[in-house]
């Protein structure tokens, strides 16, 4: 069975077109990036607004007891917020493909469009590729656009205190352009796998969304001071997710077996 990119692109084109016309889903997809951009900007602004507040030093010392006396606690906390927030920002490339892929795979079952689709010459690999692209491209694009707004917002808000652009830094640039696509692939893989097993898009979304919990948990660990985030820390997360991506890709193509899908859902 030869892989025909044209057919995979046809699936991508159809799903992308369908997504563009799905207002409810577009609104759901817009909420998360808005929160992901506005919350850290708000936090940075609160540090910039009262940089000499005595409590800031106490908080900073909690995270780094060796913080020099002359160092600005506000600046330290801004840097820490930006480093830690990247972990939270990774929820977005995971969650957006979950929203899309759950609709596109389980949605085919709900709308009874699966059997005509599977009766066409498209192969399971082409179907997985097309549907994955339709979830990944918007997810990565949204992440990158949100990143631009995030950088501009943080720099504008932080300027009065730091008098220099803070963003984009090396961690965020590497993270957004290398690690975020890997996380997006992970979210998509989980959603495709779960969608192939359940009958409803909503159930697929709810189950798939559980994978963001470990990510949020790790950010919680950073905020609580148990985990120290940095470039190496995120690169390690990226490497683990890369391995998981390969496993998910293999499993997705296997699970999107025509016979299994038709006999269960067709």
């Amino acid at each position: 069975m030869a892989f025909r990119p044209r057919r995979a692109l046809a699936v991508f084109w159809k799903d992308f077109l369908d997504l563009r016309k799905n207002v409810g889903l577009l609104v759901s997809m817009a909420v998360l990036p808005t929160v992901m951009v506005l919350v850290p900007i708000g936090v940075v602004w609160s540090y910039v607004r009262t940089p000499n507040h005595a409590d800031l030093r106490s908080v900073a010392l909690f995270y780094d007891p060796s913080l020099p006396l002359g160092a600005s606690a506000a600046r330290f906390l801004i840097d820490k917020t930006l480093t830690d927030w990247f972990g939270m920002f990774l929820v977005m490339p995971v969650f957006v493909p979950i929203l899309i892929a759950s609709q596109s795979v389980a949605g085919e079952k709900e709308r009874r469009t699966l059997e005509p689709l599977l009766a066409s010459p498209v192969t399971a690999a082409e179907l997985v590729t097309g549907k994955s692209l339709a979830a990944l491209v918007p997810a990565v694009a949204i992440t990158w656009v949100a990143f631009v707004f995030f950088c501009v917002g943080v720099d504008v808000v932080a300027w009065p205190l730091v008098k220099m652009p803070l963003m984009p830094d090396a961690l965020w640039t590497f993270g957004v352009f290398v690690i975020a696509p890997l996380f997006a692939f992970f979210g998509n893989g989980v959603a495709v796998l779960i969608s192939a097993r359940v009958s409803e898009a909503r159930m697929a979304q709810q189950l798939s969304a559980l994978v963001v919990l470990p990510i949020v948990g790790m950010v919680g660990g950073q905020v609580a001071g148990f985990l120290k985030a940095g470039l190496g820390y995120y690169a390690l997360q990226g490497a683990v997710v890369l391995v998981l991506d390969a496993i998910l890709l293999w499993a997705s193509i296997r699970l999107l077996d025509r016979e299994r899908l038709v006999s269960r859902w067709g």
Partner: protein
Amino acid sequence: MSGIHVEGLGKRFGERTAVEGLSFHVRPGEVFGLLGPNGAGKTTTVRMLTGLLRPSEGEATVWGHPVDGDGEPLRKVVGLLTEQPGLYDRLTARENLRFFMKLHELDEARAWPRALHYLERFGLGGREEEPVGGFSKGMRQKLAIVRTLVHDPKVIFLDEPTSGLDPESARTVRDAVAELASEGRTIVLCSHNLAEVERLCERVAVVKRRLLAIGPVKELRRAGHALDVRVDGEAERYRNVLTSLPFAPNVLAEGARLRVMLADEAHAPDVVACLVGAGARVHSAVPAQRPLEEVYLELLREGRG
């Protein structure tokens, strides 16, 4: 090898046998009816013949392509109309069709005029830029039929093609089916509408997990040895005379006509002799064709036994 060739085809899902020992052939240009009650294995059979399910036993080729192969060349030559139209509601009719043209790697410039021809034929001309979500049930069914034909398939499987259509649209679809067959395509029609099957199909197969009967519609209707007898006056008065015969358990009387079901065709002269003996003036006695529905129900009853 064109047409459809099925030999001993069977499918099991775990312990459950959905279909077993099916054998039949369908010629190019033939409209073949696949009949059976719900759960009889019609859909499973169609799914095997369209490359969606792998057979557990037996073999089959569809337009020369084995059904247990990789399925891709097979799916290029078949068109499948499923029981549910299965359309993308947010997409327009044109976008729905374009998607399937792309999946079949068709040159859209060439394929679209064919699609447009069918859209116009089915009364959907001028509606191609409208979202399918706003279409009526009948319009959706007609669009699904166009989608089935868009890649010019050699073998077409139609599951309840006139379901949800008004009489005029149903007639258009039936005419289109006949025309497609006349172009040399093989058509398999699954339907519970036996009048439609009688009108369209040359031969039918009745299945209920296994093949119960197969043959030309006319022959099946003749099977079961019924005799139509025309007598002078009211036929009703001779009914009791005939039902007392051991070989004619079922007799219907209507006006001057008697419909006598016979255990054996050889008893036809005995029926005439009995009627004459009872004082009837017999005008004619000819082997009767029973309605397909009656044959079908009888086959299912026998299949149950």
